[in-house]
């Protein structure tokens, strides 16, 4: 890492546009994400949140604009830099995207075999088992994903995203399909990431997750970033623009409900 890349934001999107089947999904999106930031991307369904996350992670091509990781354009990374990027930035998919022809263990082991070749197979199995157990996965690691419930698939997918201990984690709807217990266990794992200073970019409409972890709120509507502010500012702000109003109002409503629940419990 040279001096230029050290001073650059960890992730930067400049003028990103993306389209699919002739319709525009993202329009001129620019974002700068510093090390250690925890960003919640919220907005209505079909607004382009997941596409934004995938373009930022270099999983979908941008029609125009550039995404930079540590000062380097993701689209033009060489083989070695690409591997370095994939080792340092991981992605938890909305629908799991588990490799169906591999066992649960192999779904976690493959990234380790590639990026941590010094680990023995028993170390890989142990590390995978420990992480899955922290997330509450109790089934055998030898089963195929097809036998798992949606919630279990989600857990395995999140574990796969975290198994390399990345600097930057993209999470697409991390709480989707999870029951309350599983969500609590996910929160404790994310708490550990927060303590380590991991940068987190999560697409979610789960207000509990956002209020607990987000330091910054980005609202996407109709393919554009319509609101971008620190959480504290968003929660205090009055009369914010229309597209973000319902999101912030919902966050405030849940915050107020939690506050009243706490008062009730104390009584």
């Amino acid at each position: 890492m040279n001096a230029d890349t050290r001073s650059a934001p960890l992730l930067e999107l400049r003028g990103i546009s993306a389209s699919s089947g002739g319709s525009e999904i993202l329009e001129d999106v620019s974002l700068s994400i510093e090390r250690g930031e925890r960003i919640a991307v919220m907005g209505p369904s079909g607004s382009g949140k997941s596409t934004l996350l995938k373009v930022a992670a270099g999983l979908e091509p941008a029609g125009s604009g550039h995404a930079f990781f540590d000062g380097r354009d993701i689209a033009t990374l060489g083989q070695r830099d690409e591997l370095d990027f994939r080792k340092r930035a991981s992605f938890g998919f909305q629908d799991g995207a588990l490799w169906e022809n591999q066992t649960v263990l192999n779904n976690l082991a493959l990234p380790l075999r590639i990026h941590r070749p010094q680990l023995s197979e028993s170390d890989i199995a142990e590390r995978s088992r420990a992480l899955l157990s922290r997330l509450g996965f109790t089934d055998s690691l030898g089963v195929r994903p097809a036998t798992l419930s949606m919630g279990e698939r989600k857990i395995v997918s999140i574990a796969r995203a975290l198994v390399l201990d990345p600097e930057l984690v993209f999470l697409d709807d991390p709480t989707g399909h999870l029951d309350e217990d599983a969500r609590d266990r996910l929160y404790s794992v994310v708490d550990a990431l927060v303590r380590k200073g991991t940068t987190i970019v999560a697409v979610t409409n789960n207000t509990g997750f956002v209020r607990r972890f987000a330091l910054r709120l980005v609202v996407v509507a109709n393919g554009r970033v319509t609101y971008d502010a620190p959480m504290a500012v968003a929660m205090a702000a009055e009369g914010i623009e229309t597209a973000a109003r319902s999101v912030v109002a919902r966050l405030k409503r849940y915050a107020e409900r939690d506050r009243l629940d706490e008062i009730e419990e104390k009584r």
């Binding site: 994939r86 998919f93 588990l98 490799w99 169906e100 493959l110 075999r113 990026h115």
Partner: protein, 258 residues
Amino acid sequence: MIERIGASVREKASSFLYALAFFGRVIDRSLRFFRRRQVGYKVLVFQILFTGVEALLVNAVMAMAIGAAIIVIGSSLLPQFGQSRLMYDIMVIVITKELGPLLTAFIVIARSGTAIATELAGMVVGHEIEAYISVGVDPISFLVVPRVLGMVSSLVLLSIYFNLFGLLGSFLVVQLIKPIAFAEYFQSLLAALAPGDILSGMAKSLVFGVIVSTVASYQGFSVGRASTEIPVAGIKAVGQSFVLCIFADVLITLAQYA
């Protein structure tokens, strides 16, 4: 109208260039496959098992049937023209150089071509390919190259196997219908067989293997997001592979005889 035609031409040209780039990348990654430790070796072994080993029975039955048919038909027709000995030349040409490689390719297209296209298409629709990219695995190196190498080596081996069963196995079948002395049969066959015939068949199999595996992989990767596109990828892979293999067969045959 003109605008529509222009758009269609642009789209076709763009798909053609994409297909060329895909093929180029497959060749490039194939050449590098054995240079370093690969996570794709297991995929390669499975591909050889599925395409080569599991197709042995149907390949053998077809080879014996074709060989036997040539002997039965040839031994009753050719003597009428005083050309009995031509039967062995016809057998060698048909089995080793023409029908052998082509029929083997057809078996492989029907079994493995569809399997590769639909499996990869399912992986695209299920976001599994994105998941591979997200952990730093190049899908071409990990998923396509082992399938291409597995299919090419399987097709070449199946072609040799087809020759063995077509030329020797068919002898056993013929004994049930029209017995011939083995020594006479074997010596006549050896006299008609030249190493070039075997090599020509193997070269065709190699070309067919590259065509079928690359077309199937390309079609698998070309789907969008709908699960209904998965069977369409299989159908396209079969159709295009058939046409391209026949076209390649004609070109190679013309090159040999011209």
